[in-house]
């Protein structure tokens, strides 16, 4: 199944609980239509990974996820030979191997005989496919999510290039394996490292920023159906206000959702200042940010923070 138009994409994403902007829908549609990978960047928690998951749900495809980390290599991402299995088979087939070379008198001819059988041991049977190879060889089209690609090493990017431009993988012993179906590829990055231009060139680039208050309202309302309008309004106003400060890590949409969840769990109907401050840890994850926000909120109320001196000193 594929998307057929931008409007349909927008609608399908929404049906699957993802409120997207027209820009996001356009790019998701284009990525599907042109078979180009989609490189999604943005601050943590704006729904980059979620977008890929939603696309998989909307298209009814399997999601294959590759979580990148420092030091990830081919063996973890593409494929690995199953040495243990190969050894096991050699053991089990000892008799058979003897049978093959028994008739030979000299070593060279025996080697020749054996090497003719080599293919039996370097075949797809002994390959342990990892996410990338899985995505390519899958009989059904899939969604491939390469998560936090910026955490991987620059060498790993080079492996990705072949995959992303031609949808093929070269295995020296087997040759080139081409994709049966071109997967929908989404790469996410927190820009902790700048991706190489060659990788970027092959991708459609989508930057997802923190949502506008209107969109945030929509998203919260979607995730918490039945939430009271005034309560929702207050939540979004507070978060938008906090986001406008100069923080190390601004609260993102997933933190807004967490906060809403906490507030609902506390069964409150209004959000007074002291409650905001008490639950601030859900929104701000840095000590210095907590202080900044507290100062800001208290200053707005015309109060001053007793700890204030400590910060300016």
């Amino acid at each position: 199944m594929d998307f057929h138009s931008i409007e349909e994409t927008l609608e399908k994403l929404k049906q699957n609980n993802y409120i997207s902007s027209l820009e996001i829908a356009t790019l998701v549609f284009l990525a599907g239509a042109t078979g180009k990978p989609l490189l999604i960047e943005g601050p943590a928690g704006v729904g980059k990974t979620e977008l890929a998951k939603t696309v998989a749900r909307a298209l009814g495809r399997e999601l294959i996820r590759l979580q990148c980390y420092e030091g990830i290599d081919e063996a973890k991402a593409i494929y690995e030979w199953e040495y243990a299995k190969q050894l096991l088979y050699t053991q089990m087939l000892k008799e058979k191997i003897h049978g093959i070379i028994d008739a030979e008198d000299t070593l060279p001819t025996a080697v020749k005989k054996i090497s003719a059988q080599e293919n039996a041991f370097f075949s797809e049977h002994f390959i342990q496919p990892r996410p990338l190879l899985k995505a390519i060889t899958s009989p059904e089209p899939v969604v491939l999510l390469i998560d936090e690609v910026d955490k991987s090493d620059p060498e790993f990017e080079a492996f990705l290039l072949e995959l992303l431009s031609d949808y093929q993988i070269s295995i020296p012993e087997l040759g080139t394996i081409r994709a049966k179906h071109i997967p929908f590829v989404a790469l996410t990055s927190n820009s902790s490292r700048e991706m190489s231009d060659t990788l970027k060139r092959r991708c459609l680039y989508l930057y997802i920023d923190n949502p506008s208050p209107e969109r945030e309202r929509e998203i919260v309302a979607l995730k918490f159906p039945g939430i009271e309008a005034r309560f929702l309004e207050k939540i979004v106003t507070v978060v938008t206000d906090i986001r406008s400060l100069d923080l190390k890590k601004k609260p993102c949409i997933s933190e807004t959702l967490d906060w809403t969840r906490s507030l609902l769990a506390l069964q409150v109907t209004d959000i007074p200042l002291d409650l905001i401050i008490r639950t601030l840890n859900v929104l701000c994850k840095h000590r210095s940010d907590l202080d900044t926000v507290k100062d800001h909120l208290l200053a707005k109320e015309g109060l001053s923070n007793p700890h204030h001196d400590k910060i300016t000193a």
């Binding site: 931008i6 790019l27 284009l30 040495y83 090493d153």
Partner: protein, 490 residues
């Protein structure tokens, strides 16, 4: 004008302002236009953006350029780009007050100019050459020697207009602007300029701006001493520094990941060999945690050195992932810790704030550039005093030093004939792993006059010049060999 031509020209403009748009990306964008509804401008814009902009910090630039190119540029509004449209553009420069929308367009140009004159002039240049190079339907009507190229008269007219425009709007002789203007004139209109003027010299140009002579353009940026950089060039250097830092970061991280492997771990190897009939098929290695060095930077921010400080801090903080910790201090005579500012702000903003909050006589322009250079002179009550600074550093901050710390001092060692107190530097030296000194002065001047370099030298593992980008880059490139491998003589 065809859409394809417009996209190609837009790509060229993007390149002119420094956004790298590759031909593949242009082809992709054009190809994807088939998939969308072209009557919806938003979709058109999204496709261009997704293909051309691959860095989120270029997004604002893109918005501005897009608006300028597709909405405000006179030629685009009439959906054609002809010599007449070019004429319009020139008229716009010539007489901003006229015409119904002239004011607005002029404002757009002025905004661009105020923001970055270089890119605007570059843009003009690229637009010009784009028109001449790209065959387009409208252009084919004109013969090559006709209006499709500039006539001699129009070249001279244009040259005169630009000169007038610039002298009217930028009366103060801004060097970088003039430089780019001249470059524009010389490159775009070579024949006209030469034939029109009768000889190939330009009276108001310094000798090295003449054609054929190597000019201190972007290619030579590495050699320009930091204190001689114009605001635009300083920005360019910062840009280069962040690119450099990215490159080194990759390299350094790779080095760390290689050095992660320690000796063979016998126990684990034996355990692993169990699945291969006791054959040690796979070796297990002891994991070794990389010993990331700690860095303490101590920067002289007095007038004689300030130009180099932001660049040094920029590169250190851009690389801070590669260190266990970066702490920084600035001094003239009194030492102040500034690490906190860096912990709370983005690097460039922090550098700005350091200079601001300590009210050092340091023009903001050297960081971001508003062109208003101030000269401190007698406003500056503090003169640099290395001896006192070292003593104070030792007394108040010596706890930041330990056996894994590398102290990087940035300064010219000119202590205004006050006591150098080199023995204190010796004590500092004993508390840390090594002391590296970066001196922005050219090497022959070290030890000359009030420079105390010769007194300090015995206590330094490394003493390097760091007066321009090339020297700074060379230092950083060696930094990790210094940090990881240089011997400790104690």
């Amino acid at each position: 004008m065809g859409m394809v031509t417009a996209i190609i020209q837009f790509a060229q403009i993007c390149r002119a302002v420094g956004i790298p748009v590759s031909p593949v990306e242009v082809i992709d964008a054009v190809g994807q236009m088939e998939c969308i509804d072209l009557s919806e401008e938003k979709q058109f814009k999204t496709v261009l953006k997704a293909n051309f902009i691959k860095n989120h910090y270029d997004q604002d630039t893109f918005e501005g350029l897009y608006d300028f190119f597709f909405h405000r540029l006179p030629g685009m509004r009439r959906s054609k780009r002809t010599p007449a449209a070019r004429e319009d553009l020139l008229n716009l420069i010539d007489d901003p007050g006229e015409g119904s929308s002239g004011r607005e367009d002029f404002q757009a140009l002025m905004d661009l100019l105020a923001h970055d004159p270089v890119s605007y002039l570059d843009l003009l240049l690229k637009m010009q050459s784009a028109e001449l190079d790209i065959p387009e339907v409208d252009m084919s009507r004109f013969s090559a020697s006709g209006e499709g190229t500039f006539s001699l008269a129009s070249r001279n007219r244009m040259q005169a207009r630009l000169r007038e425009f610039l002298s009217k709007n930028f009366p103060s002789g801004d060097e970088s602007l003039r430089f780019y203007l001249q470059e524009y004139l010389l490159d775009t209109l070579p024949e006209g300029a030469q034939k029109g003027d009768g000889d190939d010299s330009h009276p108001d140009l310094p000798a090295y701006f003449q054609p054929g002579v190597a000019r201190p353009g972007p290619a030579n940026l590495g050699e320009v001493p930091f204190q001689h950089l114009t605001a635009a060039e300083a920005r360019a250097v910062h840009d280069i520094i962040s690119r450099l830092a990215g490159k080194y970061k990759d390299r350094i991280i790779r080095r760390y990941s290689r050095s992660k492997k320690g000796a063979v771990d016998i126990q684990r190897t034996i355990r692993k060999s169990a699945q291969y009939e006791g054959m040690p098929m796979k070796l297990a290695w002891r994991r070794r945690l990389p010993q990331k060095p700690k860095i303490v930077a101590l920067c002289d921010v007095s007038y004689s050195v300030w130009a180099a400080v932001p660049f040094m801090l920029n590169i250190l903080y851009s690389l801070q992932d590669c260190f266990r910790q970066v702490k920084s201090f600035v001094f003239i005579a009194r030492v102040a810790a500034v690490s906190d500012i860096f912990a709370h702000h983005e690097t460039m903003a922090a550098i700005d704030q350091v200079m601001d909050s300590y009210q050092l006589q340091y023009p903001r322009s050297a960081v971001y550039g508003d062109e208003k250079d101030k000269y401190p002179g007698d406003q500056d009550p503090e003169i640099s005093d290395y001896g006192t600074a070292f003593a104070q550093f030792m007394e108040n901050f010596s706890e930041v030093l330990d056996h894994r710390t590398t102290l990087i001092i940035l300064g010219d060692g000119r202590s205004n004939f006050l006591a150098p107190k080199a023995d204190i530097l010796g004590k500092i030296r004993e508390k840390c792993r090594r002391v590296v000194w970066l001196n922005p002065e050219p090497e022959p001047l070290w030890g000359d006059g009030d420079s105390e370099m010769s007194a300090y030298r015995p206590y330094l593992q490394e003493l390097r010049p760091c007066g321009n980008l090339r020297e700074l880059a060379a230092f950083v490139s060696d930094l990790f060999s210094i940090l990881l491998y240089s011997d400790v003589h104690k």
